[in-house]
Amino acid sequence: MFSRILKRGKPEFWKAYTGHFKEKLPQDLHAVRFVVFDTETTGLDVRKDRLLSIGALSVFHLKIDVGDSLELYVKQEVFNAGTVGIHGILKEGGLLKLAEEEAIITFLGYIKNSVLVAHHAAFDIAMINESLARMGLPKLKNKVLDTGVLFKKTTLCENKENRHSLDQLCAIFKLRQHDRHTAAGDAFLTGLVFLKIVSNLSRSGKLKVSDLFFNSERRGLL
C-alpha cells in the first residue's frame, strides 16, 4: 500500500492537510485555533518506540472546546511491557484501536493548520514525524508552542534554567490532577496550563500570536 502511495506522489489526505496552510495565521489570539495535544508512547526512543495514544483538544476564542477534541488509541506491533505500568494501555486492551496509519490520518485531518501546543512538545512532534516518515511523508508543517518554554516567559517562573515537568506546572497553577499519564488527561491539563500562561502573559498588555513564538522558535524541534 505504501509503495502505491509513493508511486502516485502524495496521498489525498496529505494534500488536504497541506492545503490548509495557504491561509495566513491570524494575529488575534482569539481567532487562532490551537490544538493542545499529548501522546503516550511505548517508550522514549523516538526511533524504536511507537505511539500508543494521542489525546488532543482545541482551544478557540481562548476556551477549551471539549466538543472539538480527539482521543485515539493505536494498535501495536512494537510493544514495550515496561511502560504499561505508567500509561495503562495494554497491547490488546478493550479500547477501539486504530492502525498507526489511520491514527495519523485522523490526527492530520483534525489539526489542520492549527498551532500545536504540547508540554515538552519536541518529543511528541518527533514521534508524529517519525510515524509520518514511516508512511513516506514529510514532517508536520504546523507552528508549535511548548508550554514548558512558554512558562519561562511568565512572571511565575523563578528559575529560567530549570525544566518544569507538567506535574510541577500543575502544582504552580494549583490544578487538580486527573487522569495523569493518559494522553487525553495530560492534554487537558496542558490545555489549562496553556490558558493560564496566556492569561499571565496578557497582563502586560495585549498579547499577539507572534509574541508567543518570539524567542522560542529558535530552539527548534529536537
Binding site: I64, G67, E71, L95, D179, A184, G185, A187, L195, S199
Partner: protein, 636 residues
C-alpha cells in the same frame, strides 16, 4: 469513542442540580460539548450590556462575582453554581456583569443543549423555575450548593427581581443616644420613636447598638437595672456598611454576622459619621415590595395594551409564587393590588378620553371575588359605579356621562383581559350605574323585600371594594346597608339560608359530588360546591356581627375568630380550607388556562384528592353553625 475529558466533566456536573436530574446519556452528551474557560481575578466572563453569549456557565473552580453598576457585588457563585442562564432564557443582553473574584475555571454550556436536555426535563426545569423564584424570596435557602444565580438577565424594570439588587432604603434619621444615657431613658426614647433599636454614638460615630432583644435578655431578666448605663449592655462594635448597599449584600452581611441591624455610615466604616440604620425588617419590606415594579409599570402605561402586558406579567409572577409555595393569602393580596392598580389606571385613561370633567364625584366599585380581593386568575369583570346625588334637572345628563365613562372603562378592562360579565353585572349597565340615593333605595329594597334573586344580588353587591373615587360615597352606602339590616334582621336569615343551599360536596358514600349534566359533566365545580359555601358563610356571619370594612373571606374569618374565641378552631379550619381551595383553583386554572372552576377529579393525585376532601369537613361544620345560629331549621 472514549472521551476522558468529557468523563471528568460528567463526574463533576452529575452532583449538581439541574444536571443531577438528567439521564446519564443526556448529561454525557452535554459534557462532550462543554467549553472550558480560564479567568484570572478581575477578568470578565461577560459584561453588563454585552450581547448575549450562546452559552450559560457553571463554575468549576474558583469564584465568579455577579456585579451591578460596575462594582457592587450582588452575588458570588462558586463550585457548581450556575450563572448567565436568565439572560439566555429571556434572550436579552446581560444586565449585570460576571467577573472572576478568584482565579476560576468555568464551563460554558451551549444554549442549544439547554433547550434540548434541560428545559425539556421536568425536574431540571422545575429546579430552574424554583431557583428563579427563590432568588429573591427565599434567600436563606440560597447557601445550598448548586444554586442558580443567573440574576443578571432578569433585571429589567418589569420584574420583582430588581428589588433584590436595588439599593435598600434605610431609616435616614437613626434614633441615637450617648454612652452615658441610662437604659431606662433609652427605652423610653425607643418607645416614643416606635423603633426596635437605638444606636449609641460618640462624636456622631456609631459605638454600639441596643435592640429590643437586649432589653428582653438583659433587663427583663434582671441582669442589669434600668438605671445602668447603655454602654453596659450595648453590642459593640457595630457592623457598618456604606449607603448604597444592595439587598443581597445586606442580607449576606446580616447572615454572616448573625445580626439583624446594620449601621450605615458615610464611608461604610465604624470611623465615619452615622447616617442610618438598616434592619432585617427593612429588608423584608423591600422584598415584599417587589411587585411594586409591576405597579410602577402600570402607572407608566399609556394604553390598555400596555396594561395587558403588565397583567400577563402579574400572572407569570403568580405562577412562580405558587410553584414556590408562597402562602396563597399573600399571593392573592399582591395580585389583587396589581389588578386594582390596573383598574385605576384604566379609569384614569378613560377619564382622559372624556372631553369634559365628571359633573360630580363618583366611585368605581369592584364586586364579587374582585371586591373580596380573592381574584387570582383573570376572570369576568364585575363592577358598579355610584355617583353623588345631583339636582333632578341634571340627573339625566349626569347619568349618561357616567354610563359613557363606564362604557370606556369596561371596554378597556376587556382589552386588559377581564372578560365582560355574561350577566352584565357591570357599571356600563344602567342598572348598576346609579346615584347614591338610588343605591341606598336599591339595597333597602333587597334587604326589606328579599327574594331569591335579590339575595343573589346581595351576595355579589355586598362584597364591594372601592377601586377609584370618593370614599364618602362608599361609606354612606355601607352605612345604609347596616341600617337597613338593623331594621330588617330577618334578611340575615335569608342570607343564611342562601349560604347553606349548597351542601358539603360529598355524597352519602363520601364520594365527590360532580356535575351530572351539561358541558361540565363529571367535573367537580370547586367554586360553587366548595368555595362559595365558605364565602357565603363568612359574609352572613360578618354582617350579623355588624363588622364593616371586611370584605375578604380570610379576613372575615380572622375577625370572626377574634370575636368568637369559642369558635376559633372552626373559623381557623375554614380559613385553611379556603386557602387550599383557592390554591387548587388557581393552579388548575393556570394549568388549563381557564377560570379553574371545574376540576377533573381523575387528574388529581390521591393525596390532592384527600386534601380536597379534607376541606369539606369545615364546610359541613360551618353550615351547621349557621343553621343553629339563624334558626334555619324552622325556616326549612
Amino acid at each position: 469513542m472514549k472521551n476522558t475529558i468529557a468523563q471528568r466533566i460528567y463526574d463533576f456536573l452529575k452532583d449538581f442540580p439541574p444536571f443531577n436530574s438528567l439521564e446519564e446519556g443526556q448529561l454525557m452528551t452535554i459534557c462532550e460539548q462543554v467549553k472550558i474557560g480560564y479567568y484570572e481575578v478581575d477578568d470578565y466572563v461577560f459584561e453588563k450590556d454585552e450581547g448575549l453569549h450562546d452559552a450559560f456557565y457553571v463554575v468549576k473552580d474558583g469564584a465568579i462575582g455577579i456585579f451591578r453598576d460596575g462594582n457592587i457585588l450582588v452575588d458570588k457563585c462558586d463550585e457548581g453554581d450556575i450563572f448567565g442562564l436568565r439572560a439566555l432564557i429571556r434572550q436579552s443582553d446581560y444586565r449585570l456583569s460576571a467577573k472572576a473574584i478568584e482565579e476560576s475555571i468555568v464551563y460554558a454550556i451551549s444554549s442549544s443543549l439547554l433547550e434540548k436536555y434541560i428545559t425539556s426535563n421536568v425536574d431540571a426545569s422545575k429546579f430552574i423555575i424554583a431557583s428563579f423564584a427563590s432568588n429573591n424570596l427565599n434567600p436563606h435557602l440560597k447557601r445550598e450548593k448548586g444554586r442558580l444565580y443567573s440574576l443578571e438577565g432578569e433585571f429589567s424594570q418589569d420584574t420583582d427581581h430588581l428589588a433584590y439588587i436595588q439599593t435598600v432604603t434605610h431609616r435616614k434619621s437613626p434614633v441615637i443616644c450617648q454612652e452615658d444615657t441610662q437604659i431606662g431613658t433609652a427605652a423610653v426614647t425607643m418607645t416614643e420613636k416606635k423603633v426596635g433599636s437605638i444606636i449609641i454614638t460618640k462624636d456622631n460615630r456609631p459605638k454600639g447598638i441596643i435592640t429590643d432583644k437586649d432589653l428582653r435578655t438583659k433587663i427583663a431578666t434582671g441582669k442589669f437595672s434600668i438605671s445602668d448605663k447603655v454602654s453596659q449592655i450595648m453590642s459593640s462594635p457595630v457592623i457598618t456598611v456604606s449607603e448604597n448597599i444592595s439587598i443581597a449584600e445586606a442580607q449576606i452581611t446580616m447572615l454572616r454576622n448573625k445580626i439583624t441591624h446594620l449601621c450605615i455610615t458615610k464611608d461604610g466604616t465604624v470611623e465615619s459619621k452615622l447616617v442610618g440604620v438598616l434592619s432585617e425588617h427593612d429588608l423584608v419590606v423591600a422584598q415584599s415590595n417587589n411587585p411594586s415594579f409591576l405597579i410602577k409599570e402600570v402607572k407608566r402605561a399609556l394604553t390598555a395594551e400596555n396594561l395587558r402586558n403588565v397583567s400577563q406579567k402579574a400572572q407569570d409572577l403568580m405562577h412562580r409564587y405558587l410553584v414556590q409555595h408562597i402562602p396563597v393569602s399573600f399571593v392573592s393580596k399582591i395580585i389583587s393590588a396589581i389588578n386594582e392598580a390596573i383598574t385605576e389606571k384604566v379609569i384614569e385613561l378613560s377619564l382622559d378620553e372624556m372631553s369634559v370633567q365628571p359633573p360630580t364625584t363618583f366611585t368605581w366599585l369592584s364586586l364579587g371575588s374582585q371586591g373580596r380581593e380573592e381574584q387570582l386568575l383573570l376572570t369576568d369583570q364585575d363592577n358598579a359605579l355610584v355617583f353623588a346625588d345631583v339636582p333632578a334637572e341634571q340627573f339625566d345628563e349626569t347619568k349618561s356621562y357616567f354610563l359613557k365613562l363606564a362604557h370606556l372603562i369596561t371596554e378597556k378592562l376587556n382589552v386588559v383581559g377581564f372578560e365582560y360579565c355574561p350577566a352584565e353585572m357591570m357599571a356600563n349597565n344602567p342598572k348598576w350605574c346609579l346615584s347614591l340615593s338610588e343605591w341606598k333605595n336599591q339595597f333597602k329594597d333587597w334587604i326589606t323585600r328579599p327574594d331569591e334573586d335579590k339575595i343573589m344580588l346581595s351576595t355579589i353587591f355586598f362584597d364591594y371594594n372601592r377601586v377609584y373615587g370618593d370614599v364618602h360615597l362608599v361609606d354612606q352606602m355601607t352605612e345604609s346597608i347596616f341600617q337597613s339590616i338593623d331594621r330588617y334582621s330577618i334578611f340575615l336569615n335569608f342570607l343564611a339560608m342562601n349560604a347553606i343551599k349548597n351542601p358539603p360536596p360529598l355524597s352519602f358514600f363520601r364520594q365527590f359530588l360532580v356535575e351530572h349534566s351539561g358541558e361540565h359533566k363529571d367535573l367537580f365545580d370547586i367554586k360553587a360546591r366548595a368555595m362559595m359555601p365558605l364565602v357565603d358563610a363568612a359574609r352572613v356571619l360578618v354582617l350579623s356581627q355588624n363588622i364593616k370594612d371586611h370584605n375578604n373571606t380570610l379576613k372575615r374569618f380572622e375577625k370572626l375568630s377574634e370575636l368568637e374565641p369559642q369558635n376559633k378552631e372552626l373559623y381557623n379550619a375554614c380559613m385553611d380550607a379556603f386557602k387550599i381551595l383557592l390554591r387548587f383553583r388557581t393552579v388548575e386554572g393556570l394549568k388549563h388556562k381557564d377560570s379553574g372552576r371545574f376540576i377533573d377529579l381523575k387528574s388529581l393525585s390521591k393525596s390532592n384528592r384527600l386534601k380536597l376532601k379534607g376541606c369539606f369537613g369545615s364546610i359541613k361544620d360551618i353550615q351547621e353553625l349557621i343553621k343553629v345560629r339563624f334558626n334555619l331549621a324552622q325556616m326549612m
